[in-house]
């Protein structure tokens, strides 16, 4: 520096407010990381459900984004970060839909997510789920598992990932598991029973007991191998099924600090406990504490409870949907309460409810209670008595 050179660039130096070194995470970083996480799950979904999955996600995304852009332009409301969030909502809404829906279902889901969830409700109910449960009602006969004697859904076989045609699905007798089964040559995909449907049927006593064996018929005949539910090779929403992918991206979000670990832990633990305790109906009476059931020397009860965790929806809900920053409680303590509510409600509604998308309903119900949870988990101000801590939320 020479003596005459300026040492201060004056105009920009006039910002007098601390802090002068900001933390590195902005809302943009948070949203981009979340979008990347959702995209990874979507990628795995595309592998399992083929080009149809990509089509559903893109249609949802276009409509969510387009409708929100329309509102931003027409209401002249410009706030940065908003469109990134809309993008995230579009991807998440796509992930909750099955791959074999018509394009107009995806379009309506995206439109309602943006218009009702994001613009009218302002995001305090998770917008993607608002759209999802709306189309669940609107296209009940297409999306619902109930009513059919045997619900079926397609999954690409292991040899035809990404490129297979989901419409050429065949039903396989004596299904041994996704990795072991190859469909007959013209078909690319397998018609399988969604594990969620099997679990619901079982809880209502629709799967008859085999002599004294209550759980064995469910595990042996109705459910795919547990490893399939980890990989995600079971029918269901595009992003709902692949437990492994969801857990990996969830851990990444936790590692980056954009998701509190307490929330998925609370959801999964409480769902585990609820599924362990809540009774199932079998032959006219109720079997409490199914987790302790042992049949033929096998811990079938524990297997049944683990299927509840990985069968679909709950993992996506715990890691990617419940942790949405806008619609979840502010503090970790509150998120534990919120997570416990989601886990218990999900299992309760799955066992005894008539509504499908039970995890999504549970999240929406708990979203309503977020304000109350926040109020009851507010912090005590240092130097005041515990009674004085109610800074109105």
């Amino acid at each position: 520096m020479t003596a005459g050179a300026p040492w201060l660039l004056s105009p920009s130096a006039l910002r007098g407010e601390p802090p002068h070194r900001r933390g590195i995470s902005t809302h943009r970083h948070i949203l981009r990381t979340w979008i990347a996480a959702a995209a990874v799950v979507g990628f795995v979904g595309c592998a399992l459900f083929g080009i149809d999955a990509l089509r559903v996600i893109i249609v949802t995304l276009i409509f969510t984004f387009g409708v929100d852009l329309m509102f931003v332009v027409s209401l002249r409301r410009a706030s940065s970060g908003r469109l990134s969030r809309t993008f995230l909502i579009g991807v998440l809404a796509g992930l909750t839909l099955p791959a074999d829906v018509d394009w107009h279902v995806a379009a309506i889901c995206g439109t309602v997510s943006a218009a009702v969830g994001n613009v009218i409700f302002g995001g305090w109910l998770h917008p993607a789920l608002v759209g999802r449960v709306f189309v669940q009602f609107l296209f009940w006969e297409k999306l619902s598992l109930a009513g059919a004697t045997v619900a079926l859904g397609p999954v690409l076989s292991a040899a035809n990932l990404f490129v297979g045609d989901l419409n050429q699905a065949v039903r396989v007798e004596h299904y041994q598991g996704w990795l072991e089964t190859t469909p007959p040559p013209p078909a690319d995909a397998l018609e399988l029973t969604p594990p969620l449907w099997s679990l619901r049927q079982f809880a209502q006593g629709q799967i008859p007991a085999d002599g004294r064996l209550i759980f064995e018929p469910l595990l042996r005949d109705s459910l795919p191998p547990w490893i399939d539910t980890l990989i995600g090779a079971v029918p269901g929403g595009i992003g709902e099924t692949s437990t492994l992918a969801i857990v990996v991206v969830g851990f990444f979000l936790i590692y980056r600090g954009y998701l509190r670990w307490q929330l998925p832990v609370a959801v999964l633990t409480s769902a585990f406990v609820a599924a362990s305790i809540l009774p199932i109906e079998s032959g006219g009476d109720y079997v409490w504490f199914p987790v302790f059931a042992i049949e033929g020397g096998r811990a079938v009860g524990l297997a049944y409870v683990l299927y509840h965790l990985t069968a679909g929806q709950l993992m996506l809900g715990a890691f990617l949907l419940a942790g949405d920053v806008v619609s979840s409680p502010m503090r970790a303590h509150g998120q534990v309460v919120y997570g416990i509510g989601i886990g218990v409600l999900t299992i309760f509604m799955r066992l005894y409810g008539v509504l499908e998308c039970e995890c999504y309903w549970a999240i929406l119900i708990m979203n309503v209670l977020v304000g109350t949870i926040d109020r009851f988990t507010s912090r005590r101000i240092l130097g005041t008595a515990p009674a004085d801590d109610s800074v109105a939320a």
Partner: protein, 445 residues
């Protein structure tokens, strides 16, 4: 404070809820020894240490002064005089600009390069330490007042605990750490003297646990003395007096109350260092120990700078890699940015941070992430207080929350939406402070 094996291996736990372990950015900085910058060019010495403390000059234009000679004299017992930081000639008496107080009366001193100084005499024992501190013009950093006033208030309040605060948990700052590395015995001695003068039953020196060698050195220096070395975990803002009282004494200071109400007094290490010069060496405060750092600074380090040095000249002396887009006076979280070229070093300057790139991100609406609530060291709800900005009245719980804020700046630091939370809280505290004492209502409408 006995340390268990686990504590010794893993370090102590954070003693309060909230707080954040910030990247300390002291790595290379803290290794460089303290360097004294000798005056070059005229010094613009402020003649008082705070705007409301009045002094009268005792020199006139054209006088020759020597190092340590009084330039001004206190007119009442709340103020202190100021001493010449070098030998030289008084060019004129004119006002000088300081970052914290704006314009202050000052003197322009042209150094003549000689090392003449006022003779030191060791005969202060017949006076009390407090008189000696007042005569040497020792100022305290927090609260910003002359040290003898702080000590008098503490004695009047009957404090039982003295905590010396060497917890520099803000990034970049290294002055306290270097002081502990270079003058550990002197700091212990001065702490003992101050504790004697205050009549406290416990004298505690709080240091960060992570500087283990410093802690061990201090413990050996303090062996047999009644200064207790307490090594604490250092989440920001452990350096704040309220947090120290909570962590060490487990007492909670009521919102807005003084530390003295909990029978404790917290003195920053920088203050004790100045007091050590006055008590042990009979030297008045004439230099400030400052960290000069930031990515625009070439030779970042800890410098002993004569009071009155213009910050522009200080920046040039330490060398700059690029013109600073952002200049900060004080720590990165509690300091203030300034753009006025003529600001000078004062008695309680602690840092000059120069950054080549300014943070210009604009705030966006709150996303309710809750990070500020989790990290707030005193447990207030910054977004709720942010909404006071558009309201005309303030409810009593919010008023308590406003008073409880310790202005650490952590909420603004972590906010991903870049909201000016801390600044809004401080502004609203000032705004609603006036309505508080209004009789009947004010809160009720």
């Amino acid at each position: 404070m006995q340390m268990s094996l686990l504590t010794h291996l893993l370090g102590p736990r954070s003693a309060f809820d909230g707080g954040l372990y910030l990247p300390d950015r002291k790595a290379g900085l803290a290794r460089r020894p303290i360097q004294t910058l000798h005056p070059e060019g005229p010094l613009h010495v402020p003649l008082t240490v705070r705007r409301d403390l009045t002094t009268e000059p005792v020199v006139r234009k054209g006088d020759r002064v020597v190092l340590g000679q009084a330039l001004s004299r206190a007119t009442n017992d709340q103020a202190v005089g100021v001493h010449a930081p070098c030998a030289g000639e008084i060019l004129s008496l004119e006002r000088v600009w300081t970052v914290e107080d704006g314009f202050l009366p000052g003197a322009v001193l042209v150094p003549d390069g000689s090392s003449d100084k006022v003779p030191q005499h060791q005969g202060w024992d017949d006076e009390s330490i407090i008189v000696q501190l007042a005569e040497c013009g020792v100022v305290c950093d927090m609260p910003r007042a002359p040290l003898h006033v702080v000590m008098r208030d503490a004695i009047a309040a009957g404090v039982t605990d003295l905590i010396v605060n060497a917890m520099e948990t803000e990034p970049y700052l290294t002055a306290d750490l270097r002081t502990l590395v270079e003058y550990p015995g002197r700091m212990i001695d001065a702490t003992c003297e101050l504790a004697d003068a205050l009549g406290v039953s416990r004298a505690i020196l709080a240091v960060p646990f992570r500087h283990r060698r410093v802690v061990r050195r201090l413990q050996s220096e303090a062996a047999g003395r009644y200064v207790e070395i307490v090594a604490l975990s250092n989440p920001y803002p452990q350096c704040h007096p309220v947090m120290l009282v909570k962590a060490i004494l487990d007492r909670e200071v009521a919102p807005g109350a003084s530390i003295l109400s909990e029978d404790a007094v917290v003195l920053p290490l920088a203050t004790v260092r100045r007091a050590s010069d006055a008590i042990l060496s009979d030297l008045p405060t004439t230099h400030a120990l400052m960290t000069v750092a930031g990515d625009a600074v070439e030779h970042a380090g800890t410098y002993r700078v004569p009071v009155g040095t213009p910050l522009a000249r200080l920046a040039k002396r330490v060398g700059m890699l690029a013109p600073a887009a952002q200049a900060v006076y004080g720590g990165p979280l509690t300091g203030s940015a300034f753009g006025y070229e003529d600001a000078v070093v004062t008695h309680d300057s602690k840092a000059l941070l120069l950054f080549g790139r300014a943070d210009v991100s604009r705030p966006v609406p709150c996303v309710r992430c809750g990070w500020c609530i989790e990290d707030c060291p005193v447990g207030i709800d910054p977004p709720a207080l942010m909404r006071l900005e558009t309201e005309a009245t303030c409810s009593e719980p919010k008023r308590i929350a406003l008073r409880a804020c310790i202005e650490c700046g952590l909420c603004s630091h972590v906010c991903p939406s870049r909201l000016p939370l801390s600044e809004t809280i401080i502004r609203n505290r000032i705004r609603f402070a006036g309505t508080e004492s209004a009789p009947e209502g004010g809160t009720r409408h």
